[in-house]
């Protein structure tokens, strides 16, 4: 059995976290709060975009983020032979 490369596993995990949390921050604090007023001049059907991000869009993105993380980590666990049975 090959040695498990714990350092690399952790490094990759941190990289995923940084990317996903950046998206988390941008959709909520960015689009939903800081730039909401500017985005409100753009329309998405019946919604103004800033309002949509603040009351719906960010929540949808949160859900997607967790499932992307689950998928990435399950793959990473397998790759590094850290998968639980």
């Amino acid at each position: 059995m090959s040695q498990i490369n714990y350092k690399l596993y952790w490094k990759k995990n941190l990289k995923y976290l940084a990317t996903l949390l950046a998206v988390w921050f941008i959709v909520s604090f960015g689009c939903g709060i800081m730039f909401a007023e500017e985005l409100n001049s753009i329309r998405l059907g019946g919604f103004k975009l800033g309002f949509w991000f603040a009351q719906q869009g960010s929540i949808f993105v949160f859900v997607i983020l967790i499932f992307v993380y689950v998928y990435l980590m399950n793959k990473l666990d397998k790759e590094f032979n850290l998968n639980e049975d």
Binding site: W10, I33, N40, F51, Q55, I66, E84
Partner: protein, 573 residues
Amino acid sequence: MTDNIWTYLMVGITFAIYLGIAIWSRAGSTKDFYVAGGGVSPLANGMATAADWMSAASFLSMAGLISFSGFIGSQYLMGWTGGYVLLALLLAPYLRKFGKFTVPDFIGERYYSQTARVIAVFCALFISFTYVVGQMKGVGVAFARFLEVKFEVGVGIGIVIVLFYTVLGGMKGITYTQVAQYCVLIFAYLVPAIFLSLFATGNPIPQLGLGGQVTDGAWLLDKLDTIHTDLGFKAYTSADVNTVDMFFVTAALMLGTAGLPHVIVRFFTVPRVKDARLSAGYALVFIAILYTTAPAISVFAKTNLISALQDKEYADVPQWFTNWEHTGLLGFEDKNNDGKIQYYNDKNPDMDAVAASNGWKGNELTIDQDIIVLANPEISQLPAWVIALVVAGGLAAALSTAAGLLLVISTSISHDLLKKWLKPNISEKKELLAARLAITVAVIVGGIAGINPPGFVAEVVAFAFGLAAASFFPAIVLGIFSTRVNKEGALAGMLVGIVFTATYILCFSVFKMGGPEDYWFGISPKGIGTLGMIFNLVVTLVVTYLTPAPPVKVQEMVESIRYPKGAGAAQEH
């Protein structure tokens, strides 16, 4: 009268289901009692977490709150969902791998300090207890309003029910009851929302209806914006708000969510690390169903309410208006004696001219925001069984949250205080007995406090979130992501975070020592936990690097929780 029969029937049936589940899932060991034996499937745990999370306030008050605050209400929507991303990515999997029973367990062992454990226990107790008081009050209100029993009797019924299934089943009983309670509450929330959406926009999906068109082809949200500006209110979707405060409040709610002990402990109940991750995802899906429906209800209800009442003859108002007038949630005072209802923002100077030309002499309608959810079925003339369903749903939301909190209280006392501190040699049987006694005392004290709540209950809930954000969140996250952070750093950081946050909230919220103009950077007490969290983080890191590294054994423990392999079951001690 027929309405009442439906209500008794719905509440009776749902309660019978909860009690049945409690008997079926009795707890035999402390492990059953604390973490449901560690064998709950991720899907069931996700549902239970969602029910645990969504309280009477989420169910009954949130849509109303957003309805009357418009865009800025988004801070609750984002704040109470975004924390789950932090939970899933930064906490849940690692705490599951750590594999003990409670949050103070982790703080105590990671920082190899009994003092840290005791601070954590008292924070957990304080946070959970303030929360329980609100839930018991919610149960009392729901019973009192719909079953026409006295408020005190309502709380009493609530105490007996919660006591029965928490004492019997512990975490195991609570978890499976919560699964049932989630189903009841989400069904009860969606049914009226679907009807409202259909009536307003012809689209049965409320999330889409919110962005839909009304009968004359205009967008619903544009119509509400126009109604608002015509009456002198700010446009509903306008993002022209105090961005700094909204930022801090949203962050405090997110960080607080991720630091609340009754939420974190749910992730100790699943079998594997990957189940903890997945379970957080399911939990957020189940929560998001309600949280994306709420803003739609806010808009449908507000539009309906104003269109139904504005400038209408008081003599012709529908029956529901009179019904809710009796409860004090709606109030009408004919200031200009024209027999019509005028609702507008009389504090807006721009409205003075409009009011003068129309002969209006001030706003005549007072609306309690709770009416948005409660009166919806009647305003939309839905059948009596839907009204009964909303009552059962509200009770399910209050009871499920109360049960989860009570469990944290009892675990903190029997496990963290007794077993881990005062009486380490206690037998499992005695520990289990202590846990059951602790729940009994907690629910009775919580009920009494719910009947006579201290005047500042609403502020105290902000306190719970602020404290969770400023104490637990940084201590846990740093404890996982840094091997270097030591006891001295964590203790100093937690103390600074707690003392700062508590002082700020006490000064501004409880003792009213200043108004919004005195807030630091315009941050309201609701958002101050974010600043407390930052202070905690900075102090922890500075003190850590001035003092020696933690023992090698602790560093190895931190390393080991980062890798999922061999997570095993929650360990016995």
